[in-house]
Symmetry: C2
Subunit: 438 residues, 2 copies
């Protein structure tokens, strides 16, 4: 049986997981694939470090070049994280004519276009299933399983850390800071959590999915992003009263029309009210889910663990199988890493995005407040669909919750600026979009 020798760059959680998975199921994969995968070399940061996964010392090195440039290594697996050295590793492998498998969403998000071009120039392939939604084979599903579909809608819960925090905040009525501290203790959140909780990790993934779904490379700088740091228990509870759950939701929507051109695409990642009756409201803990509506297939959903050693390893193994078959059958350009096919593609500016909203104001409980707020909204052509005004004590601060019909972000933000200046309105208004999945 043909053998393919692998070089792994990165011996941390994911690298160790991939090494272990190849050891465990390599024989099974060989029987399914007709190709034997064998790890030849592994680059790690520290040779002395005790690893939960045993890797023979002769395979270890601290220099990534000794992996990538080893003539025995046919296929490079980049699992080191970060973007700059990872870029170097990938480019060097391409120069040597070696395909690369990566789990690095930040790398793809930041240097994707350059790396795709380099792969093409050197006639090798680049695989990145593990970069989005962990164990869910969503890249394969989008590029192959749904290849016959125009993707009308794609919604994703793409960050396990945020989903874990929001799940516990809702279940336990706990504050964000307390759940975050607990998540850090349990290893579900990093000591420096901003990549997750500020929505950047989900943004990287949303950009990759949007690009694949719509055939033009979406610049991550054009994607509206808001994280979960400022979500208050009060909003989780009011949302629940209204029949919604707050999720950090990636929304990728194709507009209508376009006159033959590609209409602008809405791409955003922000806390969003999801109706409790929708399946995405039930995606809890560290799980991810991607909901895809194709123009032919209709609604489909894909669900699984979004991160962690094993889920990521499963996705890397899937790429290794494709890469091994491409090496065996000479199909390195069979499915290129990215095929741009919408020359007119563009991202809809946030100001033009039209959506229903949830608004929470803090107001003084006195007569006429609602009239003043409603007048400003009406002047901005914004319609109210429902109101919750809990009973308070005259003259004291109380929350005022407004559910808003479809409105453009620009109009909504303008109205809220005006509302904020009312003397009866205290503090900053809270604004979240509402998604009805229609």
């Amino acid at each position: 049986m043909q053998q393919v020798n692998l070089g792994i760059v990165g011996g941390g959680t994911v690298g160790g997981g991939v090494y272990q998975a190849v050891e465990r199921n390599g024989a099974l994969m060989a029987s399914r694939l007709g190709v034997q995968l064998a790890v030849a070399r592994v680059a790690v940061r520290d040779l002395q470090k005790k690893r939960p996964v045993k890797i023979p010392a002769r395979k270890l090195t601290t220099h990534w070049r000794e992996v990538v440039e080893d003539p025995a290594v046919q296929l490079v697996i980049e699992l080191m994280g970060g973007t700059e050295t990872a870029r170097e590793v990938t480019l060097r492998a391409f120069e040597l004519g070696k395909p690369v498998v990566t789990a690095n969403k930040a790398l793809i998000s930041k240097h994707g276009e350059e790396l795709f071009a380099a792969a093409q120039k050197h006639g090798v392939n680049f695989y990145y299933e593990a970069s989005v939604a962990g164990g869910i084979p969503i890249i394969k599903v989008l590029r192959e399983g749904l290849i016959g579909n125009r993707i009308a809608r794609l919604y994703g819960i793409l960050n396990g850390t945020c989903n874990y925090i929001l799940t516990r905040m809702k279940r336990e009525g706990a504050a964000y800071a307390d759940v975050l501290a607990d998540a850090q203790r349990l290893g579900y959140a990093e000591a420096e959590p901003s990549l997750d909780v500020d929505g950047l990790d989900a943004l990287h993934k949303a950009g990759i999915l949007a690009s694949l779904a719509h055939g033009f490379w979406v610049n991550p700088k054009q994607i509206h992003v808001a994280g979960i740091r400022r979500i208050e228990q009060l909003d989780i509870q009011f949302a629940e009263k209204l029949g919604y759950t707050i999720k950090l939701l990636a929304v990728i929507k194709r507009g209508e029309g376009g006159n033959g051109k590609c209409p602008p695409i809405q791409v955003s990642v922000c806390p969003t009210l999801v109706p409790n009756t929708h399946v995405l409201a039930s995606v809890n803990e560290v799980f991810n889910a991607v909901f895809v509506r194709g123009d032919i297939v209709g609604d489909t959903l894909y669900y699984g663990r979004g991160a962690g050693q094993d889920a990521t390893a499963s996705a890397v193994l899937s790429d290794l199988a494709d890469a091994a078959l491409d090496l065996k059958f000479g199909g390195q350009n069979r499915i290129p890493p990215f095929v741009p096919h919408e020359r007119d593609g563009s991202v809809l500016p946030l100001a033009h995005v039209v959506t229903p909203f949830y608004v929470r104001l803090t107001v003084l409980d006195q007569p006429g407040v609602m009239a003043k707020v409603a007048t400003i909204l009406a002047e901005n052509q914004i319609g109210i669909s429902s109101v919750i005004q809990p009973e308070g004590h005259e003259g004291k601060r109380v929350p005022l919750i407004l559910m808003i019909h479809d409105a453009p972000y620009a109009a909504m933000q303008r109205a809220l600026q005006q509302i904020s200046k009312l003397p009866v309105v205290k503090g900053k208004p809270v604004l979240y979009p509402v998604e009805h999945f229609d």
Copy 2:
């Protein structure tokens, strides 16, 4: 750009859907694939019939050989249904060195092994994504996305007609016969519904999934199947009281151990109590879902429309893309239709399957009934986990519901036979397995 000429055999709902989908999204697919798909010929039953999808008359023929044997046709799409002519069509295409795409689960179930061997002999490929779970790309997910995983558990809601009927029975409290009649009127059920409601269609699909997941060809005759004809409203309601929903569930479980050999696999399709808290309980209407637990990836779920013109067309398009790439890159043996890799694989006989059960007896409401029933269960080493005994009128017939701890089918059936002979027990006991997904 390279062009691949398609020949479609079958101009009914699915055939028309595929023709329409290629017309609609062929250019999009070409831009993604680098190959242009073009329908060259279509074999239909009746040239005169008015079709909702317009196909130019010059492409139509009533003879399948004129499609398959047309030298211009490079790829055959078998969408005629049935098993005998479909087998002939497929074998003839293989003889001519033409790959075949099919949506025909009955064909694969009945003649799969012969057709796989013929494809291999003639060095062509055979694609059947559309044969299981419609628009959900579950064949690709199992064979490629999860290739690195041993599949510990696979659960499927695989028949849209049954799921539609059960959904409405539960929602509306309606009787089976009434909902079936309505489903027939709406086109969700055939005039002769037995293929669906007796579980045979789900059985075909379960056999294909079990074979792919476990690497040996599962003989459909060895799969335990029970349909939904006998499900009574009473059982749906008692299940709900206990926190369960009755679904027609395919269960494919790998046993533990095996001493290096493949342990026997449980494969069954029958009405099953699913806890309301499990996501599969929320899969309603005509939707299908497949829940897959891999030893590396953990729990994953795939959801979408299981049948119908468009969902099936989407799956056929995915196969056409793979087939076109295989033609372009000469990879016709890249992913063979079936790779047997577990020589010791076998199906666990039903008698040995151990599961919790739901039992409904019809008994006379008189003192001592429960003691007699409980004694027989105890003598068969069967434990009761809970009982519902609604208040009745002394001497009248009342239902008696028992939830049973894990027990082998053989013991359960033996005990029920003995219980049925008690003078206080009237009618046939109702027995459904309960699935806890652990």
